[in-house]
Protein backbone atom coordinates (compact mmCIF):
# COMPACT_ATOMS: atom_id res chain seq x y z
CA UNK A 1 0.00 0.00 0.00
CA UNK A 2 3.01 2.30 -0.01
CA UNK A 3 3.87 2.27 -3.71
CA UNK A 4 2.95 5.21 -5.89
CA UNK A 5 -0.31 4.81 -7.79
CA UNK A 6 0.18 4.07 -11.45
CA UNK A 7 -3.27 4.41 -12.98
CA UNK A 8 -3.87 7.87 -14.36
CA UNK A 9 -6.65 10.14 -13.24
CA UNK A 10 -7.74 13.47 -14.68
CA UNK A 11 -7.93 15.94 -11.82
CA UNK A 12 -9.14 19.54 -11.85
CA UNK A 13 -7.63 21.72 -9.14
CA UNK A 14 -9.85 24.78 -8.71
CA UNK A 15 -8.09 27.27 -6.47
CA UNK A 16 -7.23 30.97 -6.79
CA UNK A 17 -4.03 30.75 -4.74
CA UNK A 18 -1.12 29.93 -7.11
CA UNK A 19 1.15 28.85 -4.27
CA UNK A 20 -1.49 26.48 -3.06
CA UNK A 21 -1.98 25.08 -6.57
CA UNK A 22 1.76 24.53 -6.90
CA UNK A 23 1.95 22.69 -3.58
CA UNK A 24 -0.97 20.45 -4.34
CA UNK A 25 0.16 19.74 -7.91
CA UNK A 26 3.57 18.66 -6.61
CA UNK A 27 1.91 16.53 -3.96
CA UNK A 28 -0.27 14.85 -6.60
CA UNK A 29 2.79 14.11 -8.74
CA UNK A 30 4.51 12.59 -5.75
CA UNK A 31 1.58 10.37 -4.83
CA UNK A 32 0.35 9.49 -8.32
CA UNK A 33 2.87 10.57 -10.99
CA UNK A 34 0.65 9.74 -13.97
CA UNK A 35 -2.20 11.98 -12.83
CA UNK A 36 -3.17 14.68 -15.32
CA UNK A 37 -3.72 17.94 -13.47
CA UNK A 38 -5.60 20.94 -14.85
CA UNK A 39 -5.63 24.00 -12.62
CA UNK A 40 -8.21 26.77 -12.84
CA UNK A 41 -7.99 29.88 -10.65
CA UNK A 42 -11.56 31.13 -10.92
CA UNK A 43 -14.72 29.40 -9.73
CA UNK A 44 -17.08 30.79 -12.37
CA UNK A 45 -14.62 29.98 -15.17
CA UNK A 46 -14.25 26.45 -13.80
CA UNK A 47 -18.00 25.87 -13.87
CA UNK A 48 -18.22 27.24 -17.42
CA UNK A 49 -15.40 24.96 -18.54
CA UNK A 50 -16.93 21.90 -16.86
CA UNK A 51 -20.29 22.62 -18.48
CA UNK A 52 -18.81 22.63 -21.97
CA UNK A 53 -16.09 20.00 -21.42
CA UNK A 54 -16.68 16.65 -23.11
CA UNK A 55 -13.79 14.79 -21.41
CA UNK A 56 -14.83 15.31 -17.82
CA UNK A 57 -12.37 15.03 -14.95
CA UNK A 58 -12.36 12.02 -12.62
CA UNK A 59 -11.95 14.22 -9.57
CA UNK A 60 -12.33 17.87 -8.63
CA UNK A 61 -10.17 19.33 -5.87
CA UNK A 62 -11.90 22.55 -4.89
CA UNK A 63 -10.75 25.32 -2.60
CA UNK A 64 -13.46 26.42 -0.19
CA UNK A 65 -12.27 29.99 0.27
CA UNK A 66 -11.97 31.48 -3.20
CA UNK A 67 -12.81 35.11 -3.80
CA UNK A 68 -16.07 35.80 -5.62
CA UNK A 69 -17.60 32.56 -6.87
CA UNK A 70 -16.37 30.43 -3.97
CA UNK A 71 -16.03 26.70 -3.40
CA UNK A 72 -19.57 26.29 -2.11
CA UNK A 73 -20.96 28.01 -5.22
CA UNK A 74 -18.95 25.73 -7.52
CA UNK A 75 -19.91 22.64 -5.53
CA UNK A 76 -23.61 23.52 -5.69
CA UNK A 77 -23.45 23.98 -9.45
CA UNK A 78 -21.59 20.71 -10.00
CA UNK A 79 -23.94 18.69 -7.82
CA UNK A 80 -27.07 20.17 -9.41
CA UNK A 81 -25.90 19.28 -12.93
CA UNK A 82 -26.95 15.76 -13.98
CA UNK A 83 -23.90 15.41 -16.24
CA UNK A 84 -21.41 16.50 -13.57
CA UNK A 85 -22.86 15.30 -10.30
CA UNK A 86 -21.12 11.90 -10.32
CA UNK A 87 -17.69 13.52 -10.33
CA UNK A 88 -16.29 13.31 -6.78
CA UNK A 89 -15.58 16.76 -5.37
CA UNK A 90 -13.05 16.99 -2.56
CA UNK A 91 -12.68 20.28 -0.73
CA UNK A 92 -9.33 21.91 -0.03
CA UNK A 93 -9.23 23.72 3.25
CA UNK A 94 -6.48 25.49 5.14
CA UNK A 95 -7.89 24.61 8.51
CA UNK A 96 -10.01 22.02 10.24
CA UNK A 97 -12.96 24.44 10.38
CA UNK A 98 -15.61 21.84 10.85
CA UNK A 99 -18.50 24.16 10.04
CA UNK A 100 -17.14 24.81 6.53
CA UNK A 101 -16.37 21.16 5.92
CA UNK A 102 -19.76 20.08 7.28
CA UNK A 103 -21.50 22.53 4.96
CA UNK A 104 -19.54 21.15 2.01
CA UNK A 105 -20.63 17.61 2.86
CA UNK A 106 -24.22 18.78 3.10
CA UNK A 107 -23.85 20.16 -0.43
CA UNK A 108 -22.53 16.81 -1.69
CA UNK A 109 -18.76 16.93 -1.24
CA UNK A 110 -17.07 13.52 -1.13
CA UNK A 111 -14.21 14.48 1.16
CA UNK A 112 -11.81 17.14 2.24
CA UNK A 113 -8.08 17.66 2.33
CA UNK A 114 -6.59 19.89 4.97
CA UNK A 115 -3.33 21.69 4.28
CA UNK A 116 -1.54 20.25 7.30
CA UNK A 117 -1.89 16.71 5.98
CA UNK A 118 -1.80 17.06 2.19
CA UNK A 119 0.23 14.01 1.28
CA UNK A 120 -1.60 11.73 3.63
CA UNK A 121 -5.01 12.93 2.52
CA UNK A 122 -4.16 12.98 -1.17
CA UNK A 123 -3.08 9.38 -1.17
CA UNK A 124 -6.39 8.38 0.38
CA UNK A 125 -8.45 10.62 -1.91
CA UNK A 126 -6.74 9.51 -5.13
CA UNK A 127 -6.83 5.86 -4.09
CA UNK A 128 -10.51 6.04 -3.24
CA UNK A 129 -11.27 7.87 -6.49
CA UNK A 130 -9.58 5.12 -8.50
CA UNK A 131 -11.65 2.54 -6.67
CA UNK A 132 -14.82 4.62 -7.15
CA UNK A 133 -14.39 4.85 -10.91
CA UNK A 134 -13.39 1.20 -11.07
CA UNK A 135 -16.76 0.26 -9.57
CA UNK A 136 -18.74 2.81 -11.57
CA UNK A 137 -17.15 1.82 -14.90
CA UNK A 138 -17.32 -1.88 -14.18
CA UNK A 139 -21.01 -1.54 -13.55
CA UNK A 140 -21.66 0.32 -16.75
CA UNK A 141 -19.29 -1.72 -18.96
Amino acid sequence: MTAAMTTSLRVYVIDDDPDHVLIISRAIREVAPETLVRSIDDGAAAVAELERETALPDLILLDINMAGFNGFDVLSRVKSDARLRHIPVVMLTSSELSSDVARAYELGASGYISKPSYLLDLRAVLGNTLLYWGVMRRATA
Binding site: M1, H86, A102, Y105, G111, L120, G127
Partner: protein, 177 residues
Amino acid sequence: MMVKSAELPPELLDPTYQNRLRVIGRRLDLGGYRSLNLVEIAGGFLARAMRPGERAPQALEFPHADFPRLIGAAFAERGRGQRLGNRHELVPTGYEDFLRALGHRLDEQHAEAIAITELGNFIAVNGVAPVETYHQTAMAPFQSLLRPDDIATLLNEAFQRRAPEPQSLRARIFSRA
Protein backbone atom coordinates in the same frame (compact mmCIF):
# COMPACT_ATOMS: atom_id res chain seq x y z
CA MET B 1 -2.67 -14.39 22.60
CA MET B 2 -3.24 -15.13 18.95
CA VAL B 3 -5.73 -17.39 17.26
CA LYS B 4 -4.68 -19.04 14.01
CA SER B 5 -6.89 -18.33 11.03
CA ALA B 6 -7.77 -22.03 10.79
CA GLU B 7 -9.22 -21.88 14.33
CA LEU B 8 -11.52 -18.95 13.64
CA PRO B 9 -15.17 -19.34 12.69
CA PRO B 10 -14.88 -19.12 8.90
CA GLU B 11 -17.51 -16.42 8.60
CA LEU B 12 -15.27 -14.07 10.59
CA LEU B 13 -12.73 -14.23 7.79
CA ASP B 14 -15.21 -13.26 5.09
CA PRO B 15 -14.04 -9.95 3.62
CA THR B 16 -17.22 -8.18 4.66
CA TYR B 17 -17.27 -4.58 5.77
CA GLN B 18 -18.70 -5.73 9.08
CA ASN B 19 -15.70 -7.94 9.81
CA ARG B 20 -13.06 -5.54 8.54
CA LEU B 21 -14.46 -2.30 9.92
CA ARG B 22 -15.01 -3.94 13.28
CA VAL B 23 -11.34 -4.73 13.77
CA ILE B 24 -10.33 -1.33 12.47
CA GLY B 25 -12.65 0.14 15.08
CA ARG B 26 -11.09 -1.99 17.76
CA ARG B 27 -7.64 -0.77 16.78
CA LEU B 28 -8.87 2.84 16.95
CA ASP B 29 -10.43 2.25 20.37
CA LEU B 30 -7.24 0.65 21.66
CA GLY B 31 -5.26 3.71 20.56
CA GLY B 32 -7.78 6.21 21.91
CA TYR B 33 -8.19 7.80 18.48
CA ARG B 34 -10.71 10.49 17.55
CA SER B 35 -11.72 12.51 14.48
CA LEU B 36 -11.62 9.57 12.14
CA ASN B 37 -11.25 9.73 8.38
CA LEU B 38 -11.30 6.21 6.95
CA VAL B 39 -11.01 5.60 3.22
CA GLU B 40 -11.07 2.40 1.20
CA ILE B 41 -8.48 2.05 -1.57
CA ALA B 42 -7.55 -0.88 -3.79
CA GLY B 43 -5.15 -2.49 -1.31
CA GLY B 44 -7.10 -1.99 1.89
CA PHE B 45 -8.03 0.98 4.05
CA LEU B 46 -6.22 4.19 4.98
CA ALA B 47 -7.15 6.02 8.15
CA ARG B 48 -6.31 9.44 9.50
CA ALA B 49 -7.19 10.07 13.13
CA MET B 50 -6.13 12.14 16.11
CA ARG B 51 -4.82 10.88 19.40
CA PRO B 52 -5.55 12.85 22.57
CA GLY B 53 -2.84 15.37 23.31
CA GLU B 54 -1.32 15.29 19.82
CA ARG B 55 -1.57 18.12 17.32
CA ALA B 56 -1.04 16.28 14.08
CA PRO B 57 -3.24 13.46 12.82
CA GLN B 58 -1.74 10.02 12.55
CA ALA B 59 -1.89 7.74 9.56
CA LEU B 60 -2.90 4.12 9.93
CA GLU B 61 -2.89 1.51 7.19
CA PHE B 62 -5.00 -1.62 7.09
CA PRO B 63 -3.91 -3.73 4.11
CA HIS B 64 -6.27 -6.55 3.13
CA ALA B 65 -3.56 -9.09 3.99
CA ASP B 66 -3.51 -7.97 7.65
CA PHE B 67 -7.15 -8.70 8.41
CA PRO B 68 -6.81 -12.40 9.31
CA ARG B 69 -4.20 -11.46 11.93
CA LEU B 70 -6.24 -8.52 13.25
CA ILE B 71 -9.39 -10.63 13.39
CA GLY B 72 -7.52 -13.44 15.13
CA ALA B 73 -6.17 -11.05 17.75
CA ALA B 74 -9.61 -9.52 18.33
CA PHE B 75 -11.24 -12.94 18.56
CA ALA B 76 -8.72 -14.07 21.16
CA GLU B 77 -9.64 -11.13 23.39
CA ARG B 78 -13.40 -11.56 23.22
CA GLY B 79 -15.29 -12.46 26.33
CA ARG B 80 -12.59 -11.11 28.62
CA GLY B 81 -14.70 -8.16 29.66
CA GLN B 82 -12.34 -5.70 28.02
CA ARG B 83 -14.09 -2.42 27.26
CA LEU B 84 -11.89 0.11 25.69
CA GLY B 85 -13.60 3.26 26.91
CA ASN B 86 -13.00 5.28 23.73
CA ARG B 87 -16.39 6.96 23.78
CA HIS B 88 -17.70 10.31 22.72
CA GLU B 89 -20.93 11.83 21.53
CA LEU B 90 -20.85 10.54 17.97
CA VAL B 91 -19.66 7.05 18.90
CA PRO B 92 -21.12 6.56 22.38
CA THR B 93 -19.90 2.97 22.74
CA GLY B 94 -16.67 3.32 20.76
CA TYR B 95 -15.59 2.82 17.16
CA GLU B 96 -15.71 -0.98 17.25
CA ASP B 97 -19.45 -1.08 17.86
CA PHE B 98 -20.16 1.78 15.48
CA LEU B 99 -18.05 0.51 12.58
CA ARG B 100 -19.33 -3.03 13.03
CA ALA B 101 -22.92 -1.81 12.85
CA LEU B 102 -22.18 0.47 9.93
CA GLY B 103 -20.32 -2.34 8.18
CA HIS B 104 -23.38 -4.56 8.46
CA ARG B 105 -25.49 -1.87 6.84
CA LEU B 106 -22.93 -1.35 4.06
CA ASP B 107 -22.85 -5.10 3.41
CA GLU B 108 -26.63 -5.11 3.13
CA GLN B 109 -26.41 -2.24 0.65
CA HIS B 110 -23.70 -4.08 -1.33
CA ALA B 111 -21.67 -0.89 -1.06
CA GLU B 112 -18.15 -0.47 -2.42
CA ALA B 113 -15.41 2.15 -2.44
CA ILE B 114 -16.45 3.61 0.89
CA ALA B 115 -15.17 6.61 2.82
CA ILE B 116 -16.13 7.46 6.39
CA THR B 117 -15.45 10.95 7.75
CA GLU B 118 -16.18 12.10 11.26
CA LEU B 119 -17.06 15.77 11.47
CA GLY B 120 -18.31 18.02 14.22
CA ASN B 121 -21.88 16.83 14.53
CA PHE B 122 -22.21 14.02 12.03
CA ILE B 123 -20.34 11.19 10.38
CA ALA B 124 -20.39 11.23 6.58
CA VAL B 125 -20.42 7.92 4.75
CA ASN B 126 -19.74 7.95 1.02
CA GLY B 127 -19.50 5.12 -1.43
CA VAL B 128 -21.04 3.41 -4.42
CA ALA B 129 -23.99 1.03 -4.23
CA PRO B 130 -26.51 -0.57 -6.58
CA VAL B 131 -29.74 1.30 -7.12
CA GLU B 132 -32.86 0.01 -8.81
CA THR B 133 -33.92 2.06 -11.77
CA TYR B 134 -36.98 1.56 -13.90
CA HIS B 135 -35.33 -0.95 -16.24
CA GLN B 136 -32.23 -2.21 -14.45
CA THR B 137 -29.89 -2.11 -11.53
CA ALA B 138 -27.17 0.50 -11.81
CA MET B 139 -24.30 1.54 -9.58
CA ALA B 140 -24.51 5.05 -8.20
CA PRO B 141 -22.71 7.10 -5.60
CA PHE B 142 -24.42 7.50 -2.25
CA GLN B 143 -23.85 9.68 0.77
CA SER B 144 -25.26 9.33 4.28
CA LEU B 145 -24.81 11.97 6.95
CA LEU B 146 -25.25 10.12 10.22
CA ARG B 147 -26.19 12.42 13.10
CA PRO B 148 -26.31 11.29 16.74
CA ASP B 149 -29.91 10.07 16.47
CA ASP B 150 -29.12 8.09 13.31
CA ILE B 151 -26.09 6.56 14.99
CA ALA B 152 -28.14 5.64 18.06
CA THR B 153 -30.67 3.92 15.80
CA LEU B 154 -27.91 2.10 13.93
CA LEU B 155 -26.37 0.89 17.19
CA ASN B 156 -29.71 -0.13 18.69
CA GLU B 157 -30.53 -2.16 15.60
CA ALA B 158 -27.16 -3.87 15.84
CA PHE B 159 -27.52 -4.62 19.54
CA GLN B 160 -31.03 -6.01 19.02
CA ARG B 161 -29.79 -8.16 16.15
CA ARG B 162 -27.16 -9.64 18.44
CA ALA B 163 -29.31 -9.82 21.58
CA PRO B 164 -28.96 -13.19 23.27
CA GLU B 165 -31.83 -15.60 22.83
CA PRO B 166 -32.22 -19.01 24.39
CA GLN B 167 -29.92 -21.10 22.25
CA SER B 168 -27.14 -23.62 22.34
CA LEU B 169 -23.58 -22.77 23.33
CA ARG B 170 -22.49 -23.33 19.74
CA ALA B 171 -25.13 -20.96 18.45
CA ARG B 172 -24.08 -18.34 21.01
CA ILE B 173 -20.48 -18.55 19.91
CA PHE B 174 -21.40 -18.13 16.29
CA SER B 175 -23.80 -15.28 16.99
CA ARG B 176 -20.76 -13.25 18.05
CA ALA B 177 -19.37 -13.44 14.53
